[in-house]
Symmetry: C2
Subunit: 367 residues, 2 copies
């Protein structure tokens, strides 16, 4: 029998932790009192087992549960349920980490394009990638197209929609994507710089299927999806069965649960196919720690079975002044995403160019 | 311009709360510094506004933000994003409540069947409904069918899959649903009691579409879905465009703490189409308070625009002994869900019958 490990952080007293850990193992598998189970093979194989309990500080424990791989049904939704279904409703527990088997890694498959593929698409074998966002909501398709053109002329690699751009009346999906893709196509014809316009895909599955077809028809170079908004299994299915271009994962709605972001945005989004994972950078307006951000970034790009690596894209509070600090900290396998900092500049193209030049200079130098 | 209100609980000092509230309003709408916005109508109409700040205890505030309805794009995924997209990543904020306009209520539509429709389907105009769950994972389709038969003979109204039953090798979806539906059909032919077998639908959108077609073909009477596992917009689309039978919402992966369960399981699941919403009962193995459970139940069934009411289904730790307490507390518009308590009984049909008889007697009596 093949098992995989899931680690939770549990608040408990020392006297109660063994029973509490056993409770989680039962809750996350058979969810009945064990005396209601009359088959020995279910008790031995289907009921999850407590594999380890480690006290990390007084009253806080890391509990690792071993689950039978078969309990996941090799399905993304049921996999999430095994990880944190009912236990997400218990306020003394946080989901911290997973240790997956090669068979589960192969089932979900990870990035299709990955860091290497995206570097190839951008002809950028070594340096950090640069990215920005089209904002704010409320602009018309023509205005978004103009902004996209200004960014592309500034030399940015990836120009993504704000994740709040859906299919609002002021900028319907189809008109917006046409205007922005036309802008990057024009800049390519004029300058030879091929920026990747990256529309945000949102909506129900039917909306998403239709929009994937649209972006393929228009020759769009990448897309962005918020897995927690559309549903993690939807993200997985789109990556696996529908999308032919790289996908950036956005963390919106990802904090609604008590899941360690190093796991959710680092490992799980990569596992399910993100080529880039955007996350709140330290020192911005979110509360992520510096060491946590580095672990998250490393979860995305370090070797993991046969999975391709994915780019970490720290975002929030990025400025040109922070470029050297960011590259020193994250290394060159990173996508640096600058947002509001560009939009307040008097000349957007010139400021974009300054940001891009700084990244290229810093990122192409020594080690 | 039509706006709707979203209320957050925010930890802050008194001196900082106004700026913090304004920060949330910007984060949940345009997500750029306001000086980057050059159109007056975006500043006035698209940027969300702080509508109210109330200190509820020292250092804790309820902040209500007014959002332009258009920002939602009338789309379930973007609606979630407006409610709690980026702000979910900020640990000082919890999502507490929404106040929706009639137009948003009509956009999402709420239950199709509702309490009245489900009562009609079960020929139970007044009394509480009874329900139980098929467990544990690991049983074969034939064993699950036998268990379903035992429950149906005991007179239960609704016999649902455990939410962990997906499409595992030990009980593939198709074989399991056929066996369990055959069991309730046989009991109906033998006794005239029509129990509703309620399979759990899980998986990617394509899996779900296929399974909805299967359950319709087999004459299944209701289904269960965990909106947070499959994705809330997926749940919404299935209800609106595909399902012809009532739907029970299961709270798996719905988390604790960061989104008020009275909102998520009470209002939002109803808004998006749940006919029944299962939630952790007070006094069980989850940490929900008694008053919170009652408010959650009332959110499901009280008048709300033109929306039908949905049944509250408190679950976890239910026993026959608690029936009177439950009906006294929740009233008769409730589905009482008993799980492990039945499975440990020596005679499942007899114990089910005792539970059902107690509910019928208590629920058909006086006021």
């Amino acid at each position: 029998m093949e098992t995989f490990g899931v680690t939770y952080r549990v608040e408990s007293s020392t006297t109660e932790i063994e029973a509490r850990a056993q409770g989680i193992a039962v809750e996350q598998s058979v969810e009945v009192p064990l005396q209601a189970i009359h088959r020995a093979d279910i008790l031995s194989d289907v009921v999850s087992k407590v594999a380890d309990i480690t006290e990390v500080e007084p009253g806080k424990f890391l509990v690792t549960i071993a689950h039978n791989v078969e309990n996941t049904g090799h399905d993304a939704a049921q996999f999430l349920n095994v990880l944190f279904g009912n236990t997400s409703l218990q306020s003394d527990v946080q989901l911290m980490d997973v240790t997956l088997t090669d068979s589960l890694l192969d089932t979900f498959g990870g990035p299709r394009v990955g860091m290497t593929g995206l570097r190839k698409q951008l002809a950028a074998p070594v340096r950090p990638l640069t990215a920005t966002a089209l904002k704010p909501m409320g602009l018309s398709p023509a205005e978004l197209g103009d902004l996209c053109r200004a960014f592309a002329l500034g030399g940015l690699d990836v120009i993504k929609d704000d994740h709040g751009l859906a299919d609002q009346r002021y900028a319907p999906f189809d008109a917006r994507v046409r205007a922005c893709q036309a802008a990057v196509d024009e800049v390519y014809a004029e300058t030879g710089h091929r920026a990747i316009y990256t529309p945000n895909l949102s909506g129900t599955p039917s909306d998403l299927y239709r929009r994937v077809d649209q972006v393929h028809e228009l020759g769009v170079g990448a897309v962005m999806i918020s897995p927690m908004l559309v549903g993690i299994p939807v993200f997985y299915e789109l990556v696996r069965d529908r999308l032919r271009v790289p996908v950036l994962a956005h963390p919106a709605f990802a904090g609604a649960l008590r899941i360690n972001p190093e796991l959710l945005l680092g490992k799980l989004y990569r596992l399910l196919g993100a080529d880039v994972s955007i996350f709140p950078n330290y020192g911005g307006r979110f509360s992520y720690s510096k060491t946590g951000c580095l672990r998250l970034a490393n979860n995305l790009r370090q070797p993991w079975g046969s999975l391709k690596g994915a780019f970490p894209a720290p975002a929030g509070g990025m400025t040109t002044e922070r470029v050297d600090e960011m590259i020193d900290f994250y290394g060159r396998d990173v996508m640096l995403l600058i947002g509001g900092g560009l939009l307040t500049a008097p000349n957007i193209t010139a400021y974009s160019r300054a940001f891009v030049d700084k990244v290229h200079a810093a990122g192409e130098g020594g080690a």
